[in-house]
């Protein structure tokens, strides 16, 4: 087995470990999202205030997080 082959195998292993570690988080969010949409269709109802609130809270926290980084940079530069 050449050194190049070993390095290639290590890279593949490294990438696989990353996928195992992170893909479930992303896929789980998608599954949860699609499950919720299915529930809305099956129950023939619009999102509740609480469901909207959860979405709004996430959007706000994402916006705040991004803004905080930009403002911190503005403050230091």
């Amino acid at each position: 087995m050449t050194q190049a082959t070993v390095l290639l195998l290590l890279k593949i292993f490294d990438g696989a470990m990353f996928a195992i570690e992170h893909a479930p988080a992303l896929l789980s969010k998608w599954r949860g999202h699609l499950g919720l949409i299915r529930t809305l269709i099956n129950e023939q109802r619009d999102p509740t205030d609480a469901e909207w609130q959860a979405v709004d809270d996430t959007a706000k926290s994402q916006t705040d997080a991004l803004r905080a980084v930009v403002e911190a940079d503005n403050a230091t530069s």
Binding site: H22, I37, Q62, A65, R67, V70
Partner: protein, 133 residues
């Protein structure tokens, strides 16, 4: 392989976002907007992880960010917020169509920025996190 995984994460962030014709037929306007709002949130996960550096433990973790890229992420997030707010204030077919167009454009740009961040050298550091090499 790392590049491939990062590209896959960026792709996942934007794939499947939007409404199929069947969904347009089956979902109420509120449900359609709710679906888009949820998908926008999921799509921005990697961008927030990128911006938050080592504080983040979800989806994609990068130990060093380019603040210019984060500024773009913030602008895109705010554009999406505004489009959502407008559509929710008047949830009809025309508003949803406008929202869908904005979402596609914003998430397309988001993906390009994520990939640009990657092309600037994001890779693993020794603690198994993504970092700028």
């Amino acid at each position: 392989m790392k590049n491939l995984i990062f590209f896959a994460a960026a792709f996942l962030a934007g794939c499947g976002v939007g409404l199929t014709q069947a969904e347009k037929d089956a979902l109420t306007p509120d449900q359609q907007i709710f679906k888009l709002a949820n998908e926008i949130n999921i799509a921005f996960e990697p961008a927030v992880a990128y911006a938050q550096q080592e504080k983040c433990t979800d989806v994609v973790v990068i130990a060093c960010h380019d603040v210019e890229v984060v500024k773009v992420f913030l602008r895109l997030r705010e554009e999406a917020n505004t489009a959502l707010k407008t559509a929710r204030a008047n949830p009809d077919t025309a508003a949803i169509s406008v929202l869908t167009g904005v979402v596609r454009r914003v998430l397309g740009e988001l993906q390009r920025e994520l990939l640009k961040a990657k092309s600037q050298g994001a890779s693993y550091d020794t603690s198994n996190r993504l970092a700028f090499a």
